[in-house]
């Protein structure tokens, strides 16, 4: 054990050197705009950039950038447009014929052909493909080439969401995929999308570069040259990285952090809608025989009693919107053109009296989030004589109780798995499934009808009838839409969408 004493001179010399080295090595805040690189962070590790081997949202986001599909759903209009196709013909409720676009190149330079389309669809239909992402693919029966640039795709059953699903199915290059396999695709992905992946550090980092040979796609050409994704699990760390300029884009920032970030002025906070909607589900067909909620007038009274607009304005805030129908306004088939119940406590009291409850009644309300909002709802109800006892618990437990029929009023939310179609919400709550408390045979039949055709106009009409009856009968009290916070660099021009899929190819520097 030898302890040698440093002379003071030596010590300060060393400290000085260290300080200088530190100042050089510490990465200075790299402005993303200066080197045309968009630095983004996610909090979860991306398991595999091969899109069929990742069931997470990040996987969907990557897929939209790297692999174009046959169909594209324009988020602005909600319409389906040809992407890697030039058009399609719906032959019958199970068959679609696709005209394949010519002159499209994969990221490795190979041309995309009808063979690649047939290969991809048949690969996804195979039982032994080992893919994890079966939600979008399990409907596929087979694909056949019926011309140089014509492909026929057959579904196992009629499914109105086929076009939507086709929009999620990225086309893989047959030759390359047969060569490298699923694992190779996870390391060096090749697609036709606006961005190609140039670097994958599994779980930690993905580098995207704008694809120079990207075809003249309705998605538009990417503007920002490079995107660097990093995984930063801790939100506080993300916030500091953003505020110090080392990140340009983060999302799902908690409200308190978003408020603080906003105050710094260093970044921009955007509060944007998601597809999640809130609602009170009234046990219209279940519970005891003499349950007041079985009466239409009582349910209508509850709708009139709650000041949804006031709660949104004063409590929920942000860009949450008031809704009147049992769906998210931008979902296909959703319409706000239904019976609306304005806030009117007097009318509510009158309806209660007509239903035989002139002094109101006592009941139970279950909830699992946003306690303060629910307390506001309860005080609204108390004002017209409906006294509620709050059972506040976990979501799973609340939903279990609801399915057993034990929940008179359930204050819940539903995100539709970000599927922009009412088929992701209405059948769950009104189609005779376990969460259906209204058990309305007529509505159930309409929903089956809406599911059994690919004729989108017919679907719209039948969903309108269903939504109208749901509103008339006041099975629900639809409340408001839920939002999420994005925090981005002041230099960045970025527009969020309700389906929570950031589309960076539309992002620009200011």
């Amino acid at each position: 054990m030898m302890m040698r004493r440093f002379s003071k001179v030596k010590f300060w010399a060393l400290a000085g050197t260290a300080a200088i080295a530190l100042s050089f090595a510490a990465p200075t805040a790299q402005a993303g705009k200066a080197d045309d690189t968009l630095n983004i962070a996610w909090d979860v590790e991306v398991p595999n950039v091969n899109m069929y081997f990742d069931t997470s949202r990040n996987g969907v986001i990557i897929a939209h950038h790297v692999w174009d599909a046959l169909v594209w759903r324009d988020p602005a209009s909600g319409d389906f447009k040809p992407l890697l196709s030039t058009g399609w013909k719906i032959v019958d409720d199970k068959t679609i014929e696709m005209d394949i676009r010519q002159g499209v190149k994969f990221h490795n330079g190979d041309a995309m052909t009808a063979d690649d389309v047939v290969y991809t669809y048949n690969y996804l239909a195979r039982a032994d493909n080992g893919i994890l992402n079966r939600n979008y693919t399990s409907w596929i029966d087979k694909a056949e080439k019926i011309g140089d640039s014509k492909v026929r795709i057959t579904a196992k059953d009629t499914n109105p969401l086929i076009l939507l699903y086709m929009g999620e199915i990225g086309i893989y290059p047959q030759k390359y995929y047969e060569e490298v396999g699923a694992e190779g695709m996870g390391r060096k992905p090749v697609g036709t999308g606006p961005y190609k992946i140039t670097e994958v550090d599994p779980g930690k980092r993905i580098v995207f570069e704008a694809f120079a040979d990207y075809y003249d796609s309705p998605k538009g050409k990417p503007s920002i040259k490079k995107i660097v994704q990093r995984t930063i699990p801790e939100m506080n760390t993300q916030v500091v990285e953003l505020a110090s300029g080392r990140l340009d884009w983060i999302w799902r920032v908690a409200q308190d952090q978003a408020d603080r970030l906003d105050k710094t002025g260093r970044v921009k906070v955007i509060n944007a809608n998601t597809m999640r909607v809130g609602y009170l589900q009234l046990n219209a067909a279940g519970g005891p025989e003499d349950s007041p909620l079985r009466k239409q007038k009582v349910r209508q009274a509850i709708n009139h009693a709650i000041d949804v607009e006031g709660i949104v304005k004063n409590l929920v805030r942000g860009s949450s919107e008031v809704i009147h129908a049992a769906c998210y306004p931008e979902q296909f088939g959703c319409t706000d053109d239904v019976t609306k119940y304005e806030y009117n406590p007097e009318k509510a009291k009158k309806l209660l009296a007509e239903a035989g409850y002139p002094t109101g009644f006592t009941t139970v309300m279950y909830a699992y989030r946003d306690r303060s909002h629910n307390e506001a709802i309860m005080s609204n109800l108390a004002a017209v004589g409906i006294k509620t006892e709050l059972r506040y618990g976990q979501y799973a437990a609340t939903r279990d109780a609801l399915r057993k029929g034990d929940v008179p009023i359930g204050s819940l939310t539903w995100g539709s798995n970000s599927i922009p179609d009412v088929d992701a919400i209405l059948p769950v709550f009104f189609g005779g499934l376990p969460d259906d408390l209204s058990k309305d045979k007529e509505v159930q039949a309409w929903l089956v009808e809406g599911k059994s055709t690919l004729d989108q106009d017919k679907r719209k009409a039948v969903y309108k009838k269903a939504l109208q009856k749901i509103a008339d009968q006041a099975y629900w009290v639809p409340t408001w839409t839920y939002t999420t916070n994005y925090a981005i660099s002041n230099d960045l021009d970025f527009k969020p969408t309700a389906d929570e899929i950031p589309r960076f190819w539309t992002a620009k520097w200011k």
């Binding site: 510490a26 694992e183 990093r230 760390t237 990285e241 110090s244």
Partner: protein, 305 residues
């Protein structure tokens, strides 16, 4: 000596195996891995397909023995989550955790041993109290809080250090301080106690009486004896740091094996969890063994005995 070492090795392997057996069982008790892998909106058919694909439908013991057989050949299988060989995954991330652990233990030793010596040299003085305060603060502060505090000060208010990533050594400064500081009080207090005991011993009085310089007495005669238990403790602390750097790795986005282990448990990534547990229990066992060797080198009495 050779037989003794071999015996220890066999015991170590048995310990590692037992650990893996227990962890294997516990993970299966905690829920259905297929549901997690399939994703939140998957239907029953999708879950069934995944169950068959990963062999979750086979009896538990069969799955375990299949794993043990392959592990003995160095094949830890493929990660369910990353769909790549577990060995590759771990060895890509191990350097981060090992580097962080070694840096942190070095930092802890550099900070706590001088503090311990000082405290023992001037017991119950202001210096002693100060040394104790500095080191105890390390244990009293939750590491996530201390980490965020450092980030606020050195990345936000004075942007000197990067708060996340592991590209350069600069990225490791804050994580090292947070992780190392936590181990400081134990080492410091053991040093202090050891030194106090030794400084009261007869041979120190003799050394002083011989007229040796105080510094020589303190460091050469006293510290060398006092430090023996500290070496064992440091080895154990290093073991803790390797396995327990989850919080630090998460906050500083270091992507080491600690974070990987934690996330893999959450994701039911059995092959990864199993491999990490086995590797870490082996490292832990090796560390204890090395500490014994180091002690033998420091203290001839242990060597002879």
């Amino acid at each position: 000596m050779l037989i003794y070492t071999l015996k220890r090795l066999v015991v170590a392997l048995l310990v590692a195996l037992t650990i893996s057996l227990i962890s294997f069982g516990l993970l299966f008790l905690s829920g259905d891995p297929a549901t997690t892998i399939a994703g939140e909106s998957a239907d029953e058919a999708a879950i069934m397909a995944i169950r068959a694909q990963y062999g979750f439908d086979r009896p538990l013991y069969e799955q375990y023995f299949a794993w043990v057989l392959r592990a003995m050949q160095g094949d830890f299988g493929t990660s369910f989550y990353f769909n790549m060989p577990v060995t590759e995954l771990i060895f890509e991330r191990l350097p981060v955790t090992l580097g962080l652990g070694l840096a942190a233990i070095t930092f802890a030793i550099i900070l706590s041993i001088p503090l311990g010596v000082l405290a023992a040299r001037y017991p119950n003085s202001l210096i002693d109290r100060l040394a104790l305060t500095i080191s105890v603060m390390g244990q009293a502060m939750p590491s996530f809080w201390f980490a965020l505090l450092l980030i606020m000060v050195f990345s936000f208010m004075y942007p000197l250090l990067p708060p996340s990533g592991s590209e350069t050594w600069v990225h490791f400064i804050m994580p090292t301080i947070v992780l190392g500081y936590y181990a400081t009080p134990a080492i410091m207090r053991l040093t202090r106690t050891g030194m106090m005991e030794v400084l009261g011993a007869d041979y120190i009085r003799t050394a002083r009486a011989k007229g040796l310089r105080p510094r020589v007495v303190l460091f050469k005669h006293a510290l060398r004896n006092a430090i023996i238990p500290v070496v064992s403790l440091a080895a154990v602390q290093l073991g803790f740091m390797l396995g327990g750097s989850i919080v630090v790795e998460t906050i500083f986005a270091l992507h080491g094996t600690g974070y990987l282990a934690w996330e893999s448990i959450r994701r039911y990534d059995l092959p990864t969890v199993q491999a990490i547990l086995l590797i870490f229990s082996l490292i832990y066992i090796v560390l204890t063994f090395l500490a014994d060797l180091l002690n033998a080198w420091l203290d001839p009495r242990i060597r002879v005995a």
